[in-house]
């Protein structure tokens, strides 16, 4: 270890070797990081190129489904009377061709996407919303365990298809019916998932401290627990969207979904199926859009889950 060269020390003025003023407040400055949970989450999220591409494409797609029905003069429900307009292959005028009664599939796909997206968004909001509330109460009041596990086991041990079909039969086919059917089968798994998250958090020291201060459970949940889980809730909602679109398609496919004449992705796929062997594009085109939406939401949901984990905030 070398020491500093002597001339330099000689050059130092003697005046510097006297007492400096001491500021106690300055000693508290540790130098603080500009770390912010949400900023870091989004930075990590958008670091991946896949995410950038998918998010941009998704935004374009959503924008298009909103704008297209507003600006187009093409009605997806207009039936062409002339048989020359039926089952046309894709062309300049009809990018996805027309179906068996001459309706423009391009227009139907975008109207359908809009319906399906709205429907799945509603399902996601209600399902996750109810799940979070019930799960929070379930996690905090252990006495509910017996009751809630009984409900959970009943609901999950019977295949959900059976309820979906049953509910869809009992009620009139409509968008509301589908929402009710999907939410009523999905909420319990959300609640259970959320309960386990709460259980892990409720024994944490800062929650015990709140109990010592006699903070009411309502506020412990809303101030101490839920803020920790917001990113997980967002991720969960993002993952619910593709699965509820899938369920809608499935229900429409077996014929108990939305009314046949309504434009949804499920109905389009179902109608395309009947003509699949002769006119494959009638099924393939809507299916491609469906696949794109589903996969994109899965990617977004999963990548967001990774990004929301503070351990990945490097």
């Amino acid at each position: 270890m070398e020491t500093m060269k002597t001339p330099e020390i000689c050059d130092l003025p003697q005046g510097l070797f006297t007492r400096a003023e001491f500021h106690e407040e300055l000693s508290e400055e540790t130098g603080f990081s500009n770390y912010s949970y949400w900023r870091s989450t989004f930075r990590t999220f958008f670091k991946s190129n896949v995410v950038k591409v998918v998010v941009i494409l998704m935004l374009l797609l959503v924008a298009y489904t909103i704008i297209y029905p507003m600006v187009t003069d093409r009605d997806p429900y207009t039936v062409a009377l002339s048989a020359r307009e039926w089952n046309l292959p894709p062309s300049q005028e009809h990018p996805f061709g027309t179906d068996g009664v001459g309706r423009d599939i391009w227009a139907r796909v975008w109207f359908g996407t809009r319906t399906s997206l709205l429907l799945s968004l509603a399902v996601a909001v209600f399902q996750v919303g109810i799940g979070v509330i019930v799960g929070a109460i379930w996690g905090f009041y252990r006495k509910l365990d017996t009751l809630m596990f009984a409900i959970y086991n009943t609901l999950t041990n019977v295949p959900s298809t059976i309820y979906l079909v049953l509910i869809a039969y009992i009620m009139k086919p409509s968008i509301l019916t589908i929402i009710i059917a999907l939410v009523s089968t999905g909420w319990i798994s959300e609640a259970r998932w959320f309960r386990s998250r709460i259980l892990a958090l409720r024994e944490a020291d800062y929650n015990v401290a709140s109990v010592c201060l006699k903070t009411p459970p309502k506020r412990i949940i809303s101030r101490n627990v839920v803020p920790y889980l917001v990113s997980l809730i967002i991720m969960d909602a993002a993952l619910t969207i593709p699965s509820s679109i899938g369920s809608e398609v499935f229900l429409s496919f077996i014929g108990v979904g939305l009314p046949q004449d309504l434009c949804t992705l499920g109905n389009l796929v179902n109608q395309g199926r009947s003509a699949f062997l002769v006119y494959p594009y009638q099924m393939i085109c809507p299916t491609l859009i469906l696949c794109f939406i589903t996969i994109s939401f899965y990617i977004i949901g999963n990548k967001f889950a990774d990004a929301s984990d503070p351990r990945n905030h490097v």
């Binding site: 106690e24 407040e25 508290e28 709140s210 006699k214 920790y228």
Partner: protein, 659 residues
């Protein structure tokens, strides 16, 4: 001088963190000689772990060695890039023992298998032969019945035993250098002493050089031949152990030694270091310690000091050793001489005081699967108004459970707890519970987990105020928060920040402020300083003491180390396996420890003085010394105020010893 076997020179380590480049190690150098023990002392964030990890290429993915060299046998490691190159060094030349034995063993493999694998992998030894060697290693690290233990899984081992296994794996390849990164921090004091002894023994047998990384000066005094003190990514002072302990030159080292709780004199403040240690984000100009040093010179703020020589083996990086500072040094020396000898305050008399908290025959049982076990067994004590009562014991002794039971956040299985004459271990009515919660508060051990990260400091401190409607209007609430912040020595404007912007010590003070805000009478402090940096501990102890005097609190202090509680407690109870084995006034307990377990605890606590530490014998408490089958033990008072758990023959012996 012995042969130099390793030399790290001007090492600079940088990290990429969220788009910023931070310098963790700012040009640190170290030499290591054959067969010696070097201790690197520093607090969290000083870079001691990062520095040594860079020797074996185990930096985190976002870190790298920017410049400097690390030479061993003429090879410079700092140029190594690939894992393959590092495997030449790691384990074979330099091995490492980590802090937490829980995470450094594979839970799904038997311990023997884990050691055998290392041997087979490194030397290509046959399986049967390697197994034989592994069993030999287990015997060497002091594990009884190694053939049987070989087949067991890590969870069947206690913490100390697990750490022995980790050490066995580390020495399996006969490394020349063993780096121990806080090897005993996660262990109990009595186990710690045994592990330190084991490492010493192995070092002699295998002729290794050992680098200890620790923040505990007691451990350093026990093991080190040479000591290097690290602060803010630099070595600030290094020298032989007795030079550092008896003749420290750097202001940081001096302050660190002075602020040991063992040196505290009752009734007076501990010497404490102001402020908080800098973290990586802080820009450092001049001497990194200057902002916390009340005696800093002007030059400390301007230029970084070079190393000055204090003796052939002792160097310190401080301007105080410069010729030009001679005048200022003598000024300082006079000032410190003036701080005359201070007398210890006499113990307070509580014979007429009324108990604020009474615990009678408290028992807490837990169910573990189908088995039931008692965490707390038949514990009785009183805590008088205005006193500091300490509960001391190792992990698993039931001290925290007792605290939680008094706090009413844990069930009780038997016995009674009274607060202010009212029984509290029952279902309480709403307003009764509110009253109780207002009066009794808790301070938690780990400041990192005890604050809500998603709430601002303002909310955290006001939480109790909201709950008890303890304010008339918003202005009064703000005033109360400000007062609480002020009394723990934090600036009022910090209330708009989030907890993650604070250091550990500051966070602990916020936790204390949260408890203070509701103006309690009784505070349970569950190991409030054990998770804090050494330079911060004295601050927090002084703060708790000051608040006690100002506001007349009564404390129950839970700790695992007798030396820490010595100067703050009025009375101390020692717990072992759920039972209080001895209870006495502090001075009496230290003068006349009766129970063998108390003796072991007293003996095991490391003292920051190499002369005492070096020749210390390790006392191991063995419960089989008692013969409780024939004569049942009971709780009795051997002397006024001095209780012990013993049977008749033992009591007779204790009484004669006291005469």
């Amino acid at each position: 001088m012995k042969e130099k076997i390793f030399e790290a020179k001007d090492v600079v380590v940088k990290f990429n963190l969220r788009g910023r480049t931070l310098t963790a190690i700012r040009g640190a150098s170290i030499d290591l000689y054959q067969g010696e023990t070097l201790a690197i002392v520093g607090e969290s964030g000083s870079g001691k772990s990062v520095f040594t990890k860079s020797f074996i290429g185990m930096l985190d993915k976002n870190g790298w060695v920017e410049s400097g060299s690390m030479c061993m046998d003429g090879v410079d490691f700092s140029r190594y890039k690939t894992e393959k190159e590092w495997l030449q060094v790691r384990g074979k030349k330099i091995a490492m023992v980590f802090q937490d034995p829980m995470t450094s063993l594979n839970p799904v493999k038997t311990v023997g298998e884990q050691i055998r694998e290392v041997i087979s992998y490194q030397f290509g030894t046959e399986k049967a032969e390697a197994k034989k060697q592994a069993i030999e290693l287990l015997r060497q690290v002091g594990i009884n019945d190694p053939e049987q233990r070989y087949k067991q899984y890590p969870h069947e081992f206690s913490g100390g035993m697990r750490q022995r296994v980790v050490i066995a794996t580390a020495i399996a390849c006969r490394p020349q250098i063993l780096i121990c990164d806080e090897p005993t921090t996660a262990l109990d004091v009595t186990v710690q002493a045994q592990i330190l002894q084991l490492i010493k023994k192995l070092q002699k047998e295998l002729d290794m050089s050992v680098i200890y990384i620790t923040h505990d000066l007691g451990v350093v005094a026990n093991v080190a031949d040479r000591v290097a003190v690290m602060y803010a990514g630099q070595i600030v002072e290094y020298g032989l152990a007795h030079e550092i302990f008896k003749d420290a030159r750097h202001p940081y080292t001096k302050a660190l030694l002075l602020s040991q709780p063992q040196l505290g004199v009752r009734g007076h403040d501990l010497h404490s270091i102001k402020g908080s240690p800098p973290n990586l984000y802080k820009e450092i100009k001049g001497d990194a310690f200057a902002p916390r040093n009340p005696d800093a010179m002007k030059i400390d703020y301007e230029y970084e000091p070079p190393f000055f020589k204090a003796s052939e083996t002792h160097y310190a990086k401080t301007w105080l050793l410069c010729d030009k500072a001679e005048e200022y040094c003598s000024e300082l020396a006079q000032a410190s001489a003036k701080r005359a000898e201070i007398a210890e305050a006499p113990p307070k008399d509580f014979s007429n005081a009324k108990p604020l908290v009474s615990v009678r025959n408290l028992t807490v049982n837990f169910k573990l699967g189908r088995k039931e076990f008692s965490a707390v067994r038949d514990v009785s004590f009183d805590i008088y108004e205005g006193e500091t009562f300490s509960l001391v014991g190792e992990s698993g002794s039931g001290k925290t459970t007792t605290g939680k039971a008094i706090m009413k956040i844990c069930h009780t299985s038997g016995g009674e707890i009274y607060y202010d004459g009212v029984k509290i271990n029952r279902k309480m009515k709403g307003h009764e519970l509110t009253d109780f919660r207002k009066n009794v508060q808790m301070i938690f051990q780990d400041p990192m987990s005890s604050l809500n990260e998603r709430a601002k400091v303002d909310y955290i401190i006001s939480e109790g105020l909201y709950n008890f409607h303890a304010y008339k209007n918003e202005k009064e609430r703000k005033e109360k928060v400000a007062a609480a912040m002020h009394s723990v020595g934090l600036l009022e404007e910090y209330t708009t920040r989030f907890p993650h912007e604070f250091s550990g010590g500051q966070r602990q003070r916020i936790g204390i402020a949260r408890a203070l805000a509701v103006e309690p009478r009784f505070i349970i402090a569950d190991e409030p300083i054990s998770a804090l940096d050494v330079s911060i501990r004295a601050q927090v102890i002084n703060l708790l003491n000051r608040l006690k005097n100002e506001k007349g609190f009564t404390y129950m202090f839970i700790a695992h180390d007798l030396s820490v509680v010595r100067f703050i407690s009025d009375r101390i109870a020692v717990m072992y396996k759920g039972r209080v084995v001895e209870l006495a006034e502090t001075g009496e307990l230290f003068r006349n420890p009766l129970h063998p377990y108390t003796n072991a605890l007293l003996q095991a606590a490391p003292v920051p003085d190499p002369d005492i530490e070096r020749d210390k014998e390790v006392l191991v408490y063995d419960p089989s010394v008692h013969h409780y089958e024939s004569e049942k033990p009971y709780w009795s008072e051997v002397r006024p105020g001095h209780f012990v758990w013993a049977n008749d023959p033992e009591l007779a012996e204790y009484r004669t010893r006291l005469k």
